[in-house]
Symmetry: C2
Amino acid sequence: MSLTLEAILEANRRYVESFGEKRNLSMPPARRFAILTCMDARLDPSKFAGLQEGDAHVVRNAGGRASEDAIRSLVISYKLLGTREWFVIHHTDCGMETFSDEIMRGLLAKSLDPAVLEADGWHDRGSGPGSSEAQYIDWLTIRNQEESVVEDVQRLRRHPLVPPWVPIRGFLYDVRSGALRPVTAADSVGMAK
Amino acid sequence: MSLTLEAILEANRRYVESFGEKRNLSMPPARRFAILTCMDARLDPSKFAGLQEGDAHVVRNAGGRASEDAIRSLVISYKLLGTREWFVIHHTDCGMETFSDEIMRGLLAKSLDPAVLEADGWHDRGSGPGSSEAQYIDWLTIRNQEESVVEDVQRLRRHPLVPPWVPIRGFLYDVRSGALRPVTAADSVGMAK
């Protein structure tokens, strides 16, 4: 067992001891909203937005982008579990600003080259296409923080599976202060009514 | 401004006041691991796994599934930001067990029918294909909790963009106790070496 895993399980044992009434929480989010934000380690949505267990759905990916998968999640959140308001939160100093699709493809082509892997003693990578797979992925990098928030709110508002009446607000989280700043330019885009 | 938004911003103001040394956190996760888990409101990974801000990447979607987008995020996490161990955590009483692709498509077809929307005063839904879009989405529902963990760990281990040496462990989180239980059946699948 890795030290990381041991530390997680030890922390979990302490959490279980104080779990108490949380055992009675029900599935639909009590405060009926969902947050879409970045996987960044510095972001803790429950702390920066004041969430208790049971309050709200939290969807996270690299960049907090409105990917197909984020849309799948948010539509389920609305349609099956009753959330009625969504918040898209990107942040300053995001890793997604530090590279391009080309850089990512180059990095992966080098480190996952089948010949390199085999020389290093790694076999049985299945029937996958190897590192060339990286060519087919849109890594959803970010060039401008504010624009990426506007784009993602816009994409959600205009998506055919998103009910036009769901309020969607955009924010930037400042990793140097912990503050949420509304991106007001996102408020007017793609309004249905 | 909605009451929900006001409450979030008020909680955020309190967080900012006590932000302190967190302003100095750096981008790469200090504890060099990533968690993939469900968006479920009852799950707070920072609490159930003992994470401080800056410790670990957290990727979340409906079900905690190893979707293309989760793989995009985890590959970025590994390759650009140095995580070296991944944890896939599904949970008991998951919303993704409560419906099927067919049910979801039916629900959306009914509520997003263009005629229904128009009668209700909603226009300008762009040029999207309307509710029929739901036919083309794999909603990644779950039939068996343990099997879905094994499947997702397996998918990650065998994916051509995932380095074969990344340890990936599977867990089920019990929403009635807060406990993490290792899914040992996921340990042996698709091991590269």
